[in-house]
């Protein structure tokens, strides 16, 4: 079964007039990205590596860079990266 990581685009606008202490846009993007990717990077990728479906130590970036053919039973159970974010 074909499986590819999908990336979502989140557009951010934070005018220069925002006071430095109130600038949160970059931190929000980082927060979304971390929350979205952590379960996938920490659970699913190591699990696939353990099953020998992908190389050991493969990073999320490397995994996301191409489509994968995975056994249907596994692919269907995989939660896609939680709405991966910010065109990461």
């Amino acid at each position: 079964m074909g499986f590819a990581v999908r990336t979502y685009n989140v557009l951010v606008y934070e005018p220069e007039a925002v006071r430095p202490e109130l600038r949160i846009a970059e931190a929000v993007l980082a927060s979304v990205e971390a929350k979205a990717n952590t379960p996938f990077a920490n659970v699913i990728i190591p699990g696939l590596a353990k099953l020998g479906l992908i190389p050991q130590g493969m990073s999320l970036e490397d995994f996301a860079a191409r489509a994968h053919e995975l056994p249907e039973a596994i692919a269907e159970k995989m939660a896609v990266p939680e709405g991966s974010s910010a065109s990461s």
């Binding site: 989140v10 951010v12 934070e14 220069e16 202490e21 931190a27 927060s31 896609v80 910010a86």
Partner: protein, 143 residues
């Protein structure tokens, strides 16, 4: 973060906004985050409200808006947000909420903790919307 890394920052002026938009729009934009906690002078939100039609993928997206009681949004933009949020939406309460206000960094006395909380709240709302839209299976490309 790649488009932002290429730009070197998140958009702070409308020209930068247009550049990032041009990069992201072809893939669809499910969520747009606006931090409106800024004082009037130099605040482009009034102008943005006037030209938002030039950014159809943004118009189609869900807006997540961080607000500030101390620095009210320009009237035109505020009206746009309220209309999208549903209160003034002629389609009524059942209308799909296209704008969500969240995570004000300065509703209360400003301090690190409230800013951190604002980041957490806004991040959670963005992620929730992404998950929700994924469930709907929307590519979020402009029509």
């Amino acid at each position: 973060m790649r488009p932002y890394e290429r730009l070197g920052r998140v958009p702070g002026v409308l020209g930068d906004f247009a550049k990032i938009y041009a990069e992201l729009a072809p893939g669809g934009i499910p969520v747009t985050l606006f931090n409106t906690a800024c004082p009037g002078p130099g605040n482009d939100y009034g102008r943005l409200a006037e030209i938002i039609g030039e950014f159809p993928a943004v118009y189609e997206s869900t807006w997540v808006v961080t607000t500030s009681l101390r620095e009210p949004m320009p009237e035109g933009f505020r009206a746009l947000v309220e209309r999208r949020a549903g209160a003034a939406n002629p389609a009524g309460a059942a209308a799909r909420r296209l704008a969500v206000s969240t995570g004000s960094p300065c509703y209360v006395p400003i301090g690190d903790s409230i800013v951190i909380r604002a980041v957490g709240e806004a991040g959670a709302v963005v992620l929730d919307r992404l998950k929700f839209l994924r469930k709907l299976g929307q590519p979020q490309k402009p029509g």
